[in-house]
C-alpha cells in the first residue's frame, strides 16, 4: 500500500502538526501519539486535493491551509476543528500569518490579500459580484495589500512587522510597507531567474537572503536594495539533484497521465528513465548516462523522455545554535546544505546527505533538523538508493554538533511519524506532484514571439538580409524597410558623420537570455532570434 509523504511539519513544545497530502495530523510532541487527524474525518472535511500551503499562527493555536481547491481554511490546533473556509480569488502560492491575527495569502496572479483570522460578518457580504471598476475578483472580501504582475512565489514580514518582502517568478524582490503595501520602499534587483525562497536571519535582521533559479544565493541590505554578496551554491548542490524536470514539449501533452494540466503537464515520471540535458555542464552522474541513445519521433514513450536539471531553492532558514548558520534545501535534491553566516570568509557550502529527495525541513532551536523525505520515490522506478540509512523513513532527525551532524536516537515523535503513515493511492500521489515547481517556475517562451524575432533579422542590415534563418527570401515589408535604411546609410556617408549617428550597437548574439548585469544587453528594442 502506498502512503502519503509528509510535506510540512510544525514543531511545538506540546502539539506538533504534520501535513500529508490532503490531511492534517496533530501529534503529542513528547509521546508521538496522534491526537487528531483529518484522516479519520468525514469526507467533506478533507480537501479534495493536497494541501499546498500551510501556516501556523505565532501563538501556535491556529493553522491556515489551502490548496488547488482555492479554499482558505483555518483550523484550531487543539482539537483540529475547522473554524472557517473561505474561497480565494486565485490559486494560492504561499500563506503566512501576520501580526498574530491576520492571514496573508499570495497567489498565482501575483497579489497578496489579507484576511482576518476570524471572518467578520462584513467580510462575507462583499460577495462575488464585480462592478465595472473592480480590478480583482474578491469572493471573500480580502484586503488587497499589493500585487506583482507575475506569479508571486513567496513573501515574508520583517521582524518588526513594518515591511513585507515579496518575490516573484520574474526575478523581482520588492520591499513594501506593511500594511500600506502601496508604498514600495525598495527593490532588490539582480536575480537572473525566478526567486523562490526568502529569509531574514533573526541574528542579522537587516540582511535578506534570497534564492531561486540562479546558481547563487544573494545577500541584500533589504532596506536599500543593495546587493551585499553572492554565495555560489549550485556547484555544491548539483550532484544531489535527483529529480529533474521533464523537458516541456507540446506534442507530449496528450499522452500525459490524467493529471489536471498545470500550465502544461508534468508528472512524477522522471524516475522511469531519463536523460540529462547536454548543456547542463558536468553531468558526471554515472547513473544518469544509461539511455544516451534516444529514438526519434516516439514522444509517447515515457522511457525516452528528456529531462533537464532545474534548480529551485525551496527553503532558506537559519539557526543560531551551536553557531549561526544558513540552512537551505533544493527541490528534488537529496541533501540539506548549510554555510556559516559571517562576512569575511568565502562561504563554504557543506551538506548532509539523506539519499532521498528532501521535501521540506524544520529547524529546532536546540540545533536539531527534521527532514521530510520523499522516501518511496525509489520504489517506483530505476532510481536506486545507495544510502546506508533506513530507506523507508519519511522523517529523519539529526542534531548539529559544532561541525557536523549526529544521528541520535530518534525522538518518539519521529518514530510515530514514520510508523503511523496515511494510506494513499497511486492516483493520489500523482495529484500530489511534489515537483510542480520544476516546471512552473522556469520560463517558456511563446512560439509567436520567436517567429517575430526571426522575421526581424533580415531587415537589420544589408549583410544579414539573406540570412538563412528566414523562410526563404525577403518579404515585401522587409524590402521596404531596407530601402529606407540604405537611403539613410547613403545620407550618413554623404554627410560624413556616419558611424556616430548609427546608434545600434546590436549585440547580435545576445538572446532572450539576459546576460547578466551589463549595459549591452539593452539593445534598443532588439531581440535576437
Amino acid at each position: 500500500m502506498s502512503r502519503y509523504p509528509y510535506t510540512r511539519l510544525f514543531l511545538q513544545s506540546e502539539h506538533s502538526i504534520v501535513i500529508a497530502g490532503p490531511h492534517i495530523q496533530v501529534l503529542d510532541t513528547n509521546t508521538g501519539d496522534v491526537l487528531h487527524s483529518t484522516g479519520k474525518c468525514e469526507e467533506d472535511q478533507i480537501a479534495p486535493g493536497p494541501i499546498r500551503c500551510a501556516a501556523l499562527s505565532d501563538c501556535g493555536k491556529y493553522l491556515a491551509t489551502s490548496g488547488d481547491d482555492k479554499k482558505l481554511k483555518t483550523w484550531q490546533v487543539d482539537d483540529l476543528k475547522l473554524l472557517s473556509s473561505r474561497v480565494l480569488p486565485k490559486k494560492p502560492t504561499y500563506i503566512n500569518f501576520a501580526n498574530h491575527k491576520d492571514i496573508l495569502v499570495a497567489d498565482k496572479f501575483g497579489d497578496i490579500f489579507r484576511y482576518q483570522l476570524h471572518p467578520s460578518s462584513n467580510e462575507s457580504s462583499s460577495g462575488c459580484e464585480r462592478d465595472a471598476l473592480s480590478s480583482h475578483e474578491n469572493p471573500s472580501g480580502g484586503e488587497l495589500i499589493l500585487g506583482h504582475a507575475s506569479l508571486l512565489t513567496t513573501f515574508l514580514l520583517t521582524a518588526d512587522g513594518q515591511y513585507i518582502v515579496t518575490a516573484d517568478r520574474d526575478e523581482h524582490i520588492r520591499v513594501s510597507w506593511y500594511p500600506q503595501g502601496y508604498t514600495i520602499e525598495s527593490y532588490c534587483l539582480g536575480h537572473q531567474k525566478y526567486v523562490s525562497a526568502l529569509h531574514i536571519p533573526s541574528f542579522s535582521s537587516r540582511t535578506l537572503i534570497s534564492g531561486g533559479g540562479d546558481s547563487v544565493l544573494k545577500l541584500w541590505d533589504w532596506m536599500s536594495g543593495k546587493l551585499l554578496r553572492n554565495i555560489d551554491v549550485f556547484s555544491a548542490v548539483e550532484p544531489f539533484i535527483a529529480v529533474k524536470a521533464p523537458k516541456k514539449k507540446r506534442e507530449w501533452k496528450n499522452e500525459d497521465e490524467d493529471i489536471e494540466p498545470f500550465e502544461g503537464k508534468r508528472g512524477r515520471r522522471k524516475n522511469k528513465g531519463k536523460r540529462k540535458e547536454k548543456r547542463s555542464g558536468n553531468d558526471g552522474d554515472a547513473e544518469e548516462s544509461q539511455n544516451s541513445a534516444i529514438p526519434e519521433g516516439q514522444p509517447g514513450e515515457v522511457s525516452t523522455e528528456e529531462s533537464e536539471v532545474v534548480f529551485v531553492v525551496h527553503r532558506i532558514a537559519s539557526i543560531l545554535s551551536p553557531v549561526p548558520r544558513i540552512v537551505f534545501s533544493v527541490v528534488g535534491a537529496t541533501a540539506i546544505f548549510w554555510f556559516p553566516m559571517n562576512d569575511d570568509s568565502e562561504a563554504c557550502i557543506q551538506h548532509e546527505p539523506f539519499y532521498k529527495p528532501i521535501i521540506d525541513f524544520t529547524l529546532e532551536d536546540n540545533g536539531s533538523i527534521w527532514v521530510l523525505l520523499d522516501a518511496d520515490r525509489s520504489s517506483q522506478g530505476g532510481w536506486s538508493s545507495k544510502g546506508e540509512s533506513d530507506d523507508s523513513n519519511l522523517v529523519e532527525v539529526r542534531r548539529w554538533t559544532l561541525d557536523n551532524f549526529t544521528a541520535s536516537d530518534p525522538p518518539p515523535l519521529a518514530l510515530a511519524l514514520n510508523s503511523c503513515t496515511l494510506p494513499a493511492t497511486q492516483a493520489d500521489l500523482k495529484v500530489l506532484d511534489l515537483y510542480l515547481d520544476l516546471l512552473a517556475l522556469p520560463k517558456h517562451f511563446e512560439a509567436e514571439d520567436r517567429t517575430q524575432d526571426l522575421s526581424e533579422m533580415g531587415v537589420d542590415d544589408v549583410a544579414t538580409a539573406d540570412s538563412g534563418s528566414n523562410d526563404g527570401g525577403i518579404t515585401k515589408r522587409e524590402l521596404g524597410r531596407l530601402k529606407h535604411k540604405q537611403a539613410l546609410r547613403r545620407l550618413q556617408e554623404e554627410v560624413g558623420r556616419g558611424a556616430s549617428l548609427d546608434f545600434e550597437p546590436l549585440p547580435t548574439d545576445s538572446k532572450r537570455v539576459k546576460s547578466g548585469g551589463r549595459g549591452d544587453t539593452l539593445a534598443l528594442g532588439m531581440d535576437g532570434a
Binding site: 496572479f109 501575483g110 497579489d111 465595472a132 471598476l133 480590478s135 480583482h136 488587497l144 500585487g147 506583482h148 504582475a149 507575475s150 520574474d170 510597507w177 500594511p179 500600506q180 502601496y182 508604498t183 514600495i184 527593490y187 534587483l189 539582480g190 536575480h191 537572473q192 520560463k443 517558456h444 517562451f445 511563446e446 514571439d449 517575430q452 524575432d453 522575421s455 526581424e456 531587415v459 515585401k476 521596404g480 524597410r481 530601402k483 529606407h484 537611403a487 539613410l488 545620407l491 549617428l501 546608434f503 545600434e504 545576445s510 538572446k511 532572450r512 539576459k514 547578466g516 548585469g517 551589463r518 549595459g519 544587453t521 539593452l522 539593445a523 534598443l524 528594442g525 532588439m526 531581440d527
Partner: protein, 258 residues
Amino acid sequence: MPKRKRTTSTAAAAAAMMSNATSVLPQKKHYRQRAHANPFSDHSLVYPSSPDSIDWSIHYPAFVNQRPSFADIGCGFGGLLITLAPQFPDTLIIGLEIRVQVTQYVQDRITALRATSDNYQNVSVIRANAMKFLPNFFQKASLTALFFLFPDPHFKIRKHKARIISPTLLAEYAYVLAPGGIVYTITDVEDLAQWMRAHLDAHPLFQFVEEQELRNEGKGPILDAVYSSTEEGKKVERNAGQKWLACFRRIEVKRINT
C-alpha cells in the same frame, strides 16, 4: 502575419513633404503589428536585471551620465516622443513599447531623424513589458512624468486585469516617480477613462490635478502633445471622437503606524 492595408499614414505623408528626408524616414506600413500583446505571457524580452546595469549612453550618445525623466508607457509609433523632443531638448525621454515591429519603427524613425536634424538626441525607445519590468529600468523617484496615452482598453471584464492602470501597478508607478511628478492619462474610451480616474483617485500616493493648474505651471506644451501628438489622438480627431484627459500628481504620505 497578415498585412494590413492602410491609407497613407501621417508620418509617411509628412516625410513626403520633406523632400530631403523622403526615403530616409521609415514607413509605418512596413512595421504593422496587431494591436494587442498579452502582458502576462513570457515574451522573449531582453531587459536589464536592474536599473544599475543600464548604460543610457547607448540610447543618448549626446548626453553623459543622464537618465531619462519622462517615460511614455506604450509609446506606440512614437508620436509623443517626437513631438516633445525638440520642446524639451535637455530632458531625456524614453518610450516603452511591447510590440517588436512597432518598437523597431520608432527606433528607425529616431535614427533617421537624428541623421537629418540636430534634434532628437534626447529621445529613445525600448521594447519592454512595462507591467512586469518597469522597476528594472527606472530607479526609485527618477522620473518626473509618466504617460499613459490611449492605452489598450481591454473592454471585457475578464481582461480588466490586463489594463495598464490597476491598484497594484500604481504602486510601481509611484515608486519610479519623484514626488511632484505627474502621471498623464488620456483615452477616447469612456469606460476606461472612468476606470483610470477611479483607481488613481483611490490610490493614496496620487492626487488629481486640474488641467489648468498644469498649464499654469508651464506644462501646456506637454498637455497639447498628450492630446494630439499620437497616432491614436489624431485618429480620434479624424473621427470627431471625445478624449478624456486626467492627470495626477505623485504625493508623499506619512506612514500610518497601527
